[in-house]
Symmetry: C2
Subunit: 279 residues, 2 copies
């Protein structure tokens, strides 16, 4: 995805020089895998559309994802000093700069959509509506709320966990897919994108829950056992490792079946699933 | 503005129940004067358009303004325990909820525009572009950056102060006016809205700088001398009280002259200027 990275660098030239810009850039370029952009591009690949048509939307979603990580790592939230093997944003730039860098990334994510030369006003507004829906108070932020609310709460059941996974993780996956859907004028398959994004988000989050204890700090880039330390509600609160392995296999099988049952070319999406499976 | 307040209350019904929603509502309804909505409505009044046509945009800008105050009050920023005579958001709901409530208000401000039944997609995108511009990293957030950067810095000159006033305060005034401009299809007068908003923002901020020392905590709703305590760069860093009085009078005279020199009905804008003058 070299040219997407070039695009990001060029876009950042639009911003006034400041520690806020530096901090936002630092976190955006900290080595994330760009899974959400990859999902968006996979939709475009399936319709044989140039990936450039999705660069603005892909940058917007990566900005939203990055802002959420910056704010999530703050001392008053999860208090994580490391992210992707580097000092988290507030550790590198200070807390006030990190708060503003997050705010800036969120605000600018909408500006990026407005500046997209490939889309009509109608498409842009459809995407802005989806961004504010899936990242907002009835979307990702609701997931953050649940995540914090159910820390240290032993009364929660597995339905709460499914909600956390859906809002905190799947919402942005669905957003990425639906951005691609709008760009490719494929609204007819909206239900597919939602089901696929929801299942993929669940898979991704259950993996992350497991990685927290089975992978080393070097592999995950954050302290091993961070969720455990924060008493987070995760898959490990309900299942043993064998059950989690079976759950992951079952989810992957469902995803593959869903992809195979579509009438259009889902092979590019399958490749992303395989990447996530093997990460 | 009773019906606008009713509109806000109705809009909040759309949000899932959570402490984030409660905290966002608490700060949005904490007794702000709605100056930015008033500016927007004054533009519509001048064109004899119903204020309802501006309710969505007015709520959006008030959400942005409120989010900026919530984050600005955080311990890692200005660390203010009171706002408008009440505990600030993080004092009432906790720091993590306050961060997320600010994030939610910012995100939802864009959703509000998408949901506006009075506007075309083209108008909506024009407004989203202005919101992300004036509230973003080259707008209000740049003002917050300068405000924090020049705390305790005695080397700054008056040009820096003018920049702080422009970015931190005037940008949202200009946004309110330009939102009205888009709704009223009055793009021809764009330069006027920019000049007027810039001057009005300057007037407003110089007043605020003065109020910090001359008004009691009861009158301003925040601790007297809060800027002084934080070593903020304000008009008082450069001017004595007599000079500030002359500066305020001069700015008001310039604003009135600007309003009088327009060919369309600016009487409604003049009323807001008088309200601000006498606050």
């Amino acid at each position: 995805m070299r040219s997407f990275e070039v695009f990001i660098n060029e876009y950042f030239q639009n911003f006034y020089s400041s520690s806020i810009k530096d901090a936002a850039y630092y976190s955006l370029m900290a080595g994330g895998k760009r899974f959400r952009p990859q999902l968006l591009f996979a939709v475009l690949d399936g319709f044989n559309l140039p990936r450039e048509n999705g660069f603005h939307s892909a940058l917007a979603i990566e900005m939203i994802h990055t802002y959420s990580l910056i704010h999530d790592d703050l001392p008053c939230m999860d208090n994580d000093d490391y992210r992707r093997g580097k000092p988290s944003c507030h550790k590198a730039y200070g807390e006030n700069t990190a708060v503003l860098a997050g705010d800036a990334l969120l605000t600018e994510s909408f500006k990026v959509i407005c500046a997209d030369p490939h889309l009509t006003s109608k498409q842009k507004i459809a995407i802005v509506a989806k961004m504010s829906q899936y990242a907002g108070i009835n979307g990702m932020i609701y997931g953050q709320y649940l995540d914090l609310k159910y820390e240290n709460d032993q009364t929660a059941d597995v339905v709460v966990l499914q909600d956390i996974d859906y809002y905190k993780t799947a919402c942005l996956f669905i957003l990425a897919l639906e951005m691609g859907m709008v760009i490719a004028h494929d609204e007819a398959n909206r239900e597919f994108y939602r089901s696929f994004g929801a299942k993929l988000g669940s898979l991704f989050q259950i993996q992350d829950d497991l990685f927290d204890i089975i992978k080393s700090s070097e592999e995950t880039g954050k302290p091993q056992g961070s969720d455990l330390k924060n008493n987070k509600l995760t898959a490990l609160s309900f299942y043993d490792r064998d059950t989690i392995d079976r759950l992951l296999k079952k989810t992957i099988a469902e995803i593959v079946e869903l992809l195979n049952s579509q009438k259009f070319d889902t092979s590019f999406l399958l490749k992303i699933v395989e990447k996530i499976k093997d990460r």
